[in-house]
Symmetry: C2
Subunit: 454 residues, 2 copies
């Protein structure tokens, strides 16, 4: 820790525009489809579900830069710019020639990067006169961020929280309630989608797919109410690019350029956030950086899923998205990285993976907690179980560099801290955690149900 070095920016360095990677993609992602007609959707088609400006951002494939409203930038100032840190403590512990940097998104008041998109989503809804919003949350990072933003802009918020996380992480529920949001464990009896699942599988512990179904259903059946999502979609990825845009400037301050950029992967929001701004220099041929998405072995859509049109939610309410997916019925194991328990990847990252612009690895749960503990003891910060997938991958890369005797510059995104996840650390210390590998049969079974969709 002693040796670690922070690179700090000024408030004036907070980006003034988000970077829209789709504008630069030679092979654009395929269109999302209306779940009933199977026809490509327009921004207007999304207006019933999302605030109009967010729907337009979702469909924008031409404008490279999208201006950040002053009201949003003003709120970013509460904690942005975030530090970039050279993790010399971790380097020393690993005895590696690699230089390891991390972007510290855990310093936000809610403890994660999720606030980067929660603020503009609340802002655009408020601006349009929406009064109520709904959302889902896994581990509660997104729900906590949106609760804070909703309170600030005076919106009523209902959050469907995946049941396993609701019980594993009661403090995040309390955080949302303290900010004034209503929190419902999902599946719940408050929606048709929830009731159907609870009838079929009474003890089902929930998934992000089911929670999305419930949040969408509530939004569609409530006047002046819109739905919001914390990951997967293009507009969410767009908002998160402030991470990478700042990191780019900070790597320049450090006099280095990353050989590899790493982030954990659930729906893709923090991965997009840190990688897309660097990726644009690969598009131009100027750079040849590697980008690695770190997913849990128990939910391996990027490494073992199929590229297919699939629903974003379990009940099939959402548009059909071209995604690397394990099938919208996939029921992920109860790992503590609740934010990574999602069956599919967004359309942009899926296309980029198909076209070999980005790579993916899957990490078993025990390796992530080992990495997390090493990081806590060498850098002083207790990481979120989700972020620990990125740390474990960075450690793999750093040890490979040591084995090969090459210098390498590694950048990863510390998407959040783990202070609300200490029960998970407790289980790890007690030796109670396991790895939850998914069998080939289970993957095949899920994917086979999917084939019928399109």
């Amino acid at each position: 820790m002693l040796e670690s070095k922070k690179y700090l920016l000024q408030e004036s360095d907070i980006p003034t525009s988000w970077y829209n990677v789709v504008a630069d993609m030679k092979v654009k992602p395929r269109p999302i489809l209306n779940p009933t007609t199977k026809e490509p959707m327009t921004a207007e088609d999304l207006y019933p579900l999302f605030a109009e400006e967010l729907a337009r951002q979702e469909m924008n494939d031409t404008d490279r830069w999208i201006e950040i409203p002053d009201e949003v930038r003003d709120m970013y100032r509460i904690w942005r710019p975030t530090p970039l840190v050279r993790a010399r403590g971790l380097e020393k512990m690993l005895d590696t020639p690699a230089h390891i940097y991390f972007k510290n998104e855990s310093v936000s008041p809610v403890g994660s990067h999720k606030l980067n998109s929660a603020i503009p989503q609340a802002y655009y809804n408020k601006k349009q006169g929406v009064t109520n919003i709904t959302t889902e949350t896994g581990a509660g990072q997104w729900g906590a961020a949106l609760s804070m933003a909703a309170k600030h802009f005076g919106l009523e918020l209902a959050v469907y929280m995946v049941k396993v996380s609701y019980h594993q992480k009661p403090y995040r529920r309390s955080i949302m309630q303290t900010y004034g949001a209503q929190v419902i464990a999902s599946p719940s009896m408050s929606t048709k989608a929830g009731r159907r699942i609870l009838t079929d599988t009474p003890n089902y512990q929930g998934s992000l797919g089911t929670a999305i179904s419930e949040a969408v259903e509530l939004a569609m059946s409530t006047p002046n109410c819109k739905y919001t999502l914390g990951s997967v979609l293009n507009h969410v990825a767009l908002h998160q690019t402030v991470i990478g845009l700042e990191a780019e400037k900070q790597m320049e301050m450090a006099g280095e350029y990353p050989d590899v950029v790493i982030a954990c992967f659930g729906g893709g929001s923090n991965f997009a956030g840190i990688t897309f701004p660097f990726l644009r220099h690969n598009f131009t041929g100027e750079r040849n950086t590697r980008f690695i998405a770190a997913e849990p072995s128990s939910c391996p859509k990027l490494t073992r899923g199929v590229f297919q049109y699939d629903y974003g939610d379990e009940a099939g309410y959402t548009p059909m998205i071209p995604m690397l997916t394990l099938g919208h019925n996939f029921s992920p194991a109860n790992i503590h990285a609740g934010g990574l328990r999602y069956h599919g990847a967004g359309s942009v990252v899926s296309q980029l993976k198909q076209d070999n612009w980005v790579e993916a690895v899957d990490i078993p749960q025990l390796e992530t907690f080992k990495a997390a503990t090493m990081f806590a003891q060498s850098e002083g910060i207790i990481p979120a179980p989700e972020s620990s997938h990125a740390i474990a991958t960075a450690i793999r890369e750093a040890l490979k560099a040591k084995e090969e005797g090459v210098q390498k510059t590694i950048l990863f995104n510390l998407s959040g801290h783990g202070l609300i996840d200490m029960a998970a650390y407790d289980s790890y210390i007690a030796g109670d955690l396991s790895n939850y590998e998914v069998s080939d049969e289970e993957v095949a079974r899920n994917i086979s149900t999917l084939e019928k969709l399109i």
Copy 2:
């Protein structure tokens, strides 16, 4: 939140010296006494208990500035300088003409100001060749900070954690364990002091006084082991003055000077930290700032205690300290602000209070949680239950300014965040918390046992 403004310093602004208020006090605090002989103690007398440099700092009443070692400053850089924030969101919510500023010490990796002293304490012990240290912790803020610092400097650490907090805040225990410390619920069967209490009062939920006895006993009976303390003593207050020294510069950036400076009060460490640097300008007559210590109504030593020689711990192992005290046997109610459950105030603050340089107020638990929730909803940060005493006091002062129609500049210390204290917020939301007032009889009874001491 939108309107709130941060004042940020550069790393080069981290103070290079701590401010030793004792050097400037016209009436010095009375000496601490050997508990057996009742004779004044020297620094050398403290060497068996504390690292020698810390013992010398404890007794130093002549040097106004004490240089911060480079190794300590390097670690301060992990999170310092901390932001000063103009809380316009809170001002707006209160509709007050007062300007409210807070120093945000919650941004440290362990979530509180305690790291400011944990680092030098671990450093000086390591430098002297000590291998093992012990300490006590209430809510766990100090224990978490010392665990991180001890791991960094390669010291083995045993922490006695007050039993009520051990159960109320299991996540802080896990944090300490993740950093590699050993944590024991106090009172425990591992010490004579603990066994005596558990024999007398089998269900006793512990107090800081008892936990100190156990930590001191373990240190004294273990080879090459020293004791460390997170508050009360002069050297701890000294280390915490980085808070006020930074805040002084930042208030200057904001173009204001505080009319009143507020901090919560347990043993006095964060209160000393933010107030002493400003107090020195009162000493010279240059300024006339008010300083308010905010203590819980359930543990009111500053407002209702007596000024008397008393032990720092329950078993009477420590030196006798001239303190405002409720008696070392005082058993505070199980409020969630575990860090404030201590029977006495340090000798310096006690003397300053006697000489009217500082004021004190006591705040009931429910008022602190109401204030905390207002702060979370207007400024986005969920505060520690301890810090909420300072917020409640700042709100009282801001509402008084509104009533009187006067502008006033208020500065308070946000000593820590409350993310590990969400169970307390849960109880508050559920209506399960109460105020735990102390009866006059209880105070009188405790103080009467004390009279016999000297």
